[in-house]
Amino acid sequence: MEPPAEMIHWLFAMLLLVLGLCLLSEAIVGREVWQARPWRKYLWPGLAFGMGIVMWPVMTFFTNSAIHMYAHGSWAEVLMLAGGAELGLVRGRLKSRWWRLTMPLAFVVTGTAFIVHEQNAWYFARSAFLHHLLGWTFLVAAVIPLGMTFRPRSMTLQSAFALTFVVLAAMLFCDRDLAPVFGHLSPLAGVPHR
């Protein structure tokens, strides 16, 4: 039996939150202190790579529409790519800083997939509203990892990058189909789930 779809949103929200908190900790205490224990440097890139692997079952088990399948598939691929590139960089197997461009690429692909797979503009339905908000947040926030490609030691960019994941996690935790937004729910949106 497949789990309710919202559980999957929350699973990924939790993983994004942990990822964001790891990055925030690193930004606060500094890279040297954070990497005092060697395994910590693999923590968030490994988490991103693992999220990519976990996204594949989501793609294959949620085939209620083709566009959802494609969106989940694209997220699985860019998460594995960006996480894998970061793992290669911290391990020293990849040398070029241009590999860091995989992260802004992942943000752009993810944001586009969020917006495209939620085509309706029913902002009174929380899911539609949040899908658009998530999509545009990813697209706009892509400039942060892009900036980090050129200024990887910038404290401001590191903090902004970490907080982006925390904010995205909060949005994903709020995501549900027919809950009201700003206290208003159109009767067209059907019956609230609770």
Binding site: P4, A5, W56, S65, A66, I67, R93, Q119, A125, D177
Partner: protein
């Protein structure tokens, strides 16, 4: 204690309650793919959110396209339509509705009245495999062969050899690229199969319900192969990241086991005369062909130029691997030809046989070419060869490789073709068979 608290906090974050998200068809009456003894009074759908009905939103079609459904009505999350009395036969249900999020969602499924329900890809209106599907399946075969062959080449042909780091990296990239392309080709093949069953324009297909297709043998194979090859990709990446070839062994075994998805979802699973033995033979056939052709691509495309000092040992060891693979390919292929073609003349009188004949011709050409390499070129290399000879051997191996790639193209067409029907057993023969 701190670890327990950490895990508990994570679990609490994941499970704050439960709710549903995207509009989904939850159940139907009659269920997908059932054989009924009586005509159903209504065809009914239950969704997880409110839907609106569209004119002609439900059709119940027989094999001639006659619609037996009345006007569709909706009541909250339920949509249904009355059905006229149905004669015995196979039926296709096509439906569409507006979901609460404004999307037009559509789907198709099948049932039978006093006959088994047809597979959803044999629904009324479905056109069957196209040239597009053949090409996608070819790319799927080719990419999986590339992944399997490259892994086998690294683990078997270069075992115990000091492999330069650059070559190791190229082999990892080649195997990884094979898996990545295989994942895309799998998604494309599943989409094309679903598109054919749904018979929708692309814009509406994007909101089409693919779950009946996912519940077919092809769908199960797609799910298992996609998940399995994602793990294979992760293992190949980890092997490269931590520089440990140990991870490649489970990757190769898993990749070879997953090839059985083609056998379990193809003709061997459903056609008359099929058995567990024919499915096993098909798996051996595809797996051994992948080792042979994919290994050849890895040797010619990556190792021949990437590590000239390893050409001799790579050639000799690959020659042994290819011999074993070819024996398996031939043994399984000959057995399958006898199973699928009831008469010898089917080879030139039936479409399936004609495609098989082309494949046999190409395999013979590849075998002859491979034989020249094994029995003549190997001796030349043992005596030591100049750079010019080596370059010519490389080009010759590339030629054999291209024939192998062509064999896979014909195999892809063959998989999408239907073998001729098996002759009905006479009562006497049936008794003997028992």
């Amino acid at each position: 204690m701190r670890r327990v608290l950490f895990v508990t906090a994570l679990a609490a974050l994941v499970v704050p309650g439960s709710a549903w998200a995207h509009a989904t068809l939850r159940s139907t009456t009659p269920p997908f793919g059932h054989e009924l003894q009586l005509t159903p009074h209504r065809v009914a759908f239950h969704f997880d959110q409110i839907v609106k009905v569209l004119p002609g939103g439900i059709e119940v079609l027989n094999d001639k396209g006659v619609n037996f459904a009345g006007t569709a009505t909706v009541n909250g999350q339920n949509m249904s339509a009355p059905v006229k009395k149905l004669p015995a036969g196979a039926y296709t249900v096509r439906w569409r509705a507006i979901s609460a999020d404004s999307h037009v969602v559509s789907g198709v499924w099948t049932f039978g009245v006093r006959v088994p329900a047809p597979a959803v890809n044999d629904a009324y209106g479905a056109g069957g495999p196209t040239a597009q599907e053949d090409v996608v399946r070819w790319v799927w075969f080719l990419s999986i062969a590339l992944a399997i062959g490259t892994l086998a080449f690294r683990l078997i042909c270069l075992r115990g050899v000091a492999v330069p780091q650059a070559l190791d990296r190229k082999l990892a990239v080649t195997a990884g690229a094979g898996v990545v392309v295989a994942l895309q080709a799998g998604i494309a093949a599943f989409s094309l199969r679903a598109e054919d069953a749904l018979q929708l324009p692309f814009g509406r297909f994007l909101y089409g319900d693919l779950s009946p297709m996912a519940a077919t043998r092809f769908g199960y194979a797609f799910v298992v192969m996609t998940l399995g090859y994602a793990v294979v990709l992760a293992l190949i990446y980890l092997a490269w990241l931590v520089d440990r070839q140990t991870f490649l062994y489970p990757a190769l075994v898993l990749a070879l086991v997953l090839v059985s998805g083609f056998s379990l979802s193809g003709h061997d699973a459903v056609d008359q005369g099929s058995s567990w033995l024919s499915e096993l033979a098909d798996w051996v056939h595809i797996g051994a062909a992948s080792l042979w052709i994919g290994g050849l691509v890895a040797m010619v495309g990556v190792a021949w130029r990437g590590a000239p000092q390893l050409r001799g040992i790579a050639f000799r060891r690959f020659s042994e691997l290819a011999t074993v693979s070819i024996v398996l390919v031939l043994a399984a292929g000959i057995y399958l030809s006898f199973v699928r073609l009831p008469h010898f003349h089917d080879l030139w009188t039936v479409g399936y046989g004609q495609v098989l004949l082309v494949k046999i011709g190409l395999v013979c050409a590849a075998l002859a070419w491979g034989g020249v390499h094994k029995f003549f070129v190997a001796r030349v290399l043992e005596r030591g060869a100049s750079e010019g000879v080596m370059a010519r051997v490389g080009r010759s191996l590339a030629g054999e490789m291209l024939v192998g790639v062509a064999v896979l193209l014909v195999a892809a067409i063959l998989v999408d073709s239907r073998p001729p029907a098996q002759p009905a057993k006479t009562p006497a023969a049936a008794a003997l068979g028992r």
